[in-house]
Amino acid sequence: MKLHKKRKSLLRAAMVPVTAVAMSAAVPATSSAQATNPCAPAVTNPCAPANPCAPAAANPCAPAAANPCAPSAAKAADAGSDAAPMASGPYDTTVKATQAPYGDKMPPIVDNYLRATPYVGTGGFIDPTGIPMLKMLGFKTVVSLLKPDEGAPNEGDLVQKAGMNYIQISVPTKAPTEAQVAEFAKIVEDPANYPILLHCESSNRVGAMWALYRASKGVPNEIAIEEGRQVGLKTSREPAVREMLGMEPL
């Protein structure tokens, strides 16, 4: 009787890059140099297997191959289809809409990753090679608070190529402006964008944006600040946020 193996998914293991020691590149050696006469075959063929076969032909001189590292479309999660249930807001858990992954389900591709709400993941720098994985993990929209000179255009291309929406709100100063907070509020309150990944370089700007957004929704200022701190607001930006909220300085 043949026993059937109980299979489990390997996707998570495949998505988490193992930390391996990097090896140095090969160094040229004169002993393995190609024939000096460019029109004559080399004596040995460096690609031919050792022994037990015939003498080899000339040495290959290949051009660099096309870039094989371009991200290809990853398998999309079962999220975002028109038929999927829609949450009514960032805290609505009464429907089975796709949520932002919990931290233990996230591969290490977003620095300081956290969940601000069931549908809003937050963090800092995104590893560009991990952007297709974000799509696989269910994210539908990436909101970047990076400035253009911090790589936002390139990041936007990669995000869109991976099949997600990309929205850039450049936050160069200590705190987002009122207009930027209002723009973010529209995004975060539109369930068509869920799940959202809100990120910047370290998550400090993310914390500032989140505190101001929550305060704009009527959350008491002190609590809004605490929520901001929870997702990355640091003392370097908090004074500007407090000033915008009309609060006492730190």
Binding site: A14, A20, S32, N51, A54, C61, A66
Partner: protein
Amino acid sequence: MTRPETPSEMSPDSANPATPAPTLRIANPGIEGLPRARLEEMHDAAETVLECETVLAKSGMSVVSEVLRGQGDFLVWSRYPQGDVFDTETHCHYFYHAHDAREMAEGENGHFHLFMRPEGIIPGLEPWDLPGAKIPEDTAARFVHIGAISVDAKGRAIRIFTTNRWVTDECLYRAEDMIRLLDHFAIELAHPNWAVNLWLSGMVTLYRPQFAALLRARDAQIEAWLADHPGSEVLEDRGLQNISQWPVDPVAQIGAIEDKLDL
């Protein structure tokens, strides 16, 4: 004759007046229509590949570190480990090496060339007798190159690719014959490292549809080249070197397999 002061002066074009044609990047052939048994075999191979990568990484190793271990300096063109790795029972064979960085893919540290001896596996296969073919009379001396696996410095697979006959001095067989051999690629040896050998064997099984598609694309490219270059010794033509390639995407591959297996 004077030898160039540095190997970098020996550019591809100085050694070969004709710049080789670009390598054809094939579309992902997908896994549609594969029987469940095949999908399960591929899924098992994925598990092996991931396990080998994890175990090696936990040990501070990688597939690259282990083929280079104890081999002295890592030199361009030298083959590692020294003397290659032959499994005389499975008739499979491989080595690892690097070209000049300009001749490799972006981020590539080197690649594994994988070989098999057809007569040891499926006797009676006929070599493809195209212009430029080299067919040893002794059938035991015939070997084929089923493909190469490029890896980065951490030993992560970047791409798989095929080459023209002259590159590896193989005895070329048609793709359909070689595809029959793919199921038999296995290196069942403990040296230079068991995990490396399992990983290589697993990679061929996990990406079997892609290896097969690359071999078919290779044949099509060779025939197209012959049509475009009448009278060319196509299998010796330095204008045709790396023929077809596919960028490895383990997440997409495993995801597709698991979709079909309803995992």
